[in-house]
Amino acid sequence: MRNLRALVLKDLLWSIRELEFLVYLVVPVIAAVGIRLLAPLMTATPTPTDIAVAAAPSEAVLVQALRDAPLLTVHAASDWAAAQAMVEARKVTTAVELPAGTTVGLGQTPPPTVRLFHDTRSISAYAKARKMITQALERVARPEPAVAFAETYASGASSPFDMQAFLIEVALSFALLFTGVFVVPLTLAEEREKGHFEALLLAGTSVRTLLAGKAAFGLLMTTLVSTLLVGLTSGPLSVLPALLHLLPAALCFVGLGLATALLVQTRKQAELGAALVMMVVAVPAFGAQGSPAMSAVAHAFPLAPLSEGLRATLEGRGQPASAWAFELGILFGYAALGFAVAGWRARRLAH
């Protein structure tokens, strides 16, 4: 335990004295203060996009799902012709028909059974509406959120877009990725390159303790930054629920980061490896889906649902962690794989 504490303290001192890592600590705090100050202005900025939906009564859930999509105002239409007429009259930009029984998979852009009719004079609005419809349909594909949306519809409550929660989520995601995928592997790669790793082993430190120290450092940094960000913006009561969403992902990134650092030889190579890992895991985390490749990555790294869960938590409508058991399980699997590869490689290097 004393060894672990010494190693974590060393990494903390080392990190905060290097400019790029200092920036990593300072930027979230500045971001938190900025969000706090600007949030009231930002929440007033959404620009609604009108959309007419023609659907059979059984598609009420879908209608509500669309209504839940941020920046989207949904107008119900009695049938497809009426919806088209609303577009022609420029009351809405897009008409969409959602036949009964429509189900879509993650990452699919509107399935062929969905009809879209848009105002060609408003291409950007159409693109935005199309993306939102896609995202809304993905939500509907998940039973629990669909039920939640239906309940919201029944009660008549609105669900305004929370820009502050969105910005905190983005800042946290960056902080999380930066810690696990960059800071941890780069410090380790530099230690290997300069001979610190060998000096620590010669001082009698075991490989297991060295890796545990790095993991503890990564998780501590994540906790520190997340606590600062969430605490300063959403209040102290939101910190713990947010951490429950963040730490499994952090553990996954730290495990992958350690494996990356030990599979390469130099810090430069570690930077390249970390950048590749970050690209792979970050894109689906921010919902950039659409192509089959991205869809596959989104399935492999199910960060988007967790990201949504984090935002829901920050908006005060959090769900129990059990709702994300599948995604958490996958992330813990990656963490275990990362630590296993790192342990195997470190033992090889030590011997």
Binding site: R2, N3, R5, A6, L7, L9, K10, L13, W14, R17, E18, K194, G195, H196, E198, A199, L200, L201, L202, A203, G204, T205, Q265, R348, L349, H351
Partner: protein, 298 residues
């Protein structure tokens, strides 16, 4: 029981024989110098002795422990001073020592004593990146000596130091040895070995060509000579040449002698005679052994 004992120690890197069948014995309490030119296999040997590199063949016993299998038992009793770049540059001198004190289970009070002892107390709270090369080497020694090891490995300890810093470092090494610590140091500096070491081993192209006290090696392999300086120039006369006495006598009778000295052979001369190469020579191409090659690449 000897501090270090190796038998037929061999290490190959692919086609390159870095260390070839070294039989060596280092007694407890002595300073043993491992003398050879750059790339001769010194660092590879020290890495095998400390268990960081597995030998291709041969046996190693250090402080009674079979290495590398029992290296974990060795580490609390031994310390290694390698290159100064393995110091944490962004940490202060004190923080560097605190880290290793904690890892070795040494009380923090020893850190203050080490800083005083190696004349680093004044700069203890400065980041190591601002230290001179001499201070870095002293800090490495302080770090290594924190746990009062029985055996200290020093890999080229005065490399890159100015003469004054090198002298101070040698004094520190003697002081450490005076407290009963066995010192195994590698160097390519003949003077350093002569000044510091009780015994030396001469290594060339991975082979140990001789070992013993500097005096014994000089006596066994060196050639003593007279340097005779006259108005006509300087002449080197071998002492065991039967014509030398007559030539000196003749020069003295003629009153031509300006300067006459007995030239004792140096370890450099011994090394040159035994290996045919100078100590400051680089290893030929293909024989340079990597300092920090990844062990699993071998």
């Amino acid at each position: 029981m000897s501090a270090i004992h190796t038998h037929a120690l061999t290490r190959r890197f692919g086609d390159v024989q870095a260390v070839a069948g070294i039989d060596m014995q280092v007694e407890r309490g002595e300073i043993f110098g491992f003398l050879g030119p750059n790339g001769s296999g010194k660092t590879t040997t020290i890495r095998m002795l400390t268990g960081r590199l597995r030998p291709t063949s041969g046996r190693i016993e250090v402080l009674g422990h079979a290495i590398p299998d029992e290296r974990d038992a060795l580490y609390p009793r031994a310390a290694v001073v390698g290159e100064s770049k393995d110091l944490y540059e962004r940490l202060t001198g004190r923080e560097n020592l605190n880290l290793f004190a904690d890892l070795r289970g040494v009380p923090r009070s020893q850190v203050d004593a080490a800083l005083q002892r190696f004349a680093l107390a004044d700069r203890a709270h400065h980041a190591v990146r601002g230290y001179s090369q001499g201070m870095r080497q002293r800090l490495l020694l302080a770090r290594a000596f924190l746990s009062q090891p029985d055996l200290l490995f020093l890999d080229e300890p005065t490399r890159g130091l100015d003469p004054a810093s090198a002298r101070a470092l040698r004094a520190a090494i003697r002081q450490i040895n005076g407290q009963g610590c066995t010192v195994f140091l590698t160097t390519h500096l003949m003077e350093e070995a002569e000044q510091l070491c009780h015994r030396v081993g001469l290594i060339a192209k991975g082979r140990l060509v001789a070992q013993g006290t500097p005096a014994a090696l000089r006596a066994a392999h060196g050639e003593r000579a007279l340097h005779l300086t006259t108005a006509e120039g300087r002449a080197r006369l071998a002492l065991d040449d039967p014509q030398t006495p007559d030539r000196v006598r003749a020069a003295l009778a003629a009153g031509a002698v300006q300067h006459l000295t007995v030239d004792a052979p140096s370890l450099e001369d011994v090394f040159l005679k035994l290996t045919g190469e100078a100590l400051d020579a680089e290893a030929p191409d293909g024989h340079q052994t990597p300092d920090r090659e990844a062990p699993d690449h071998a």
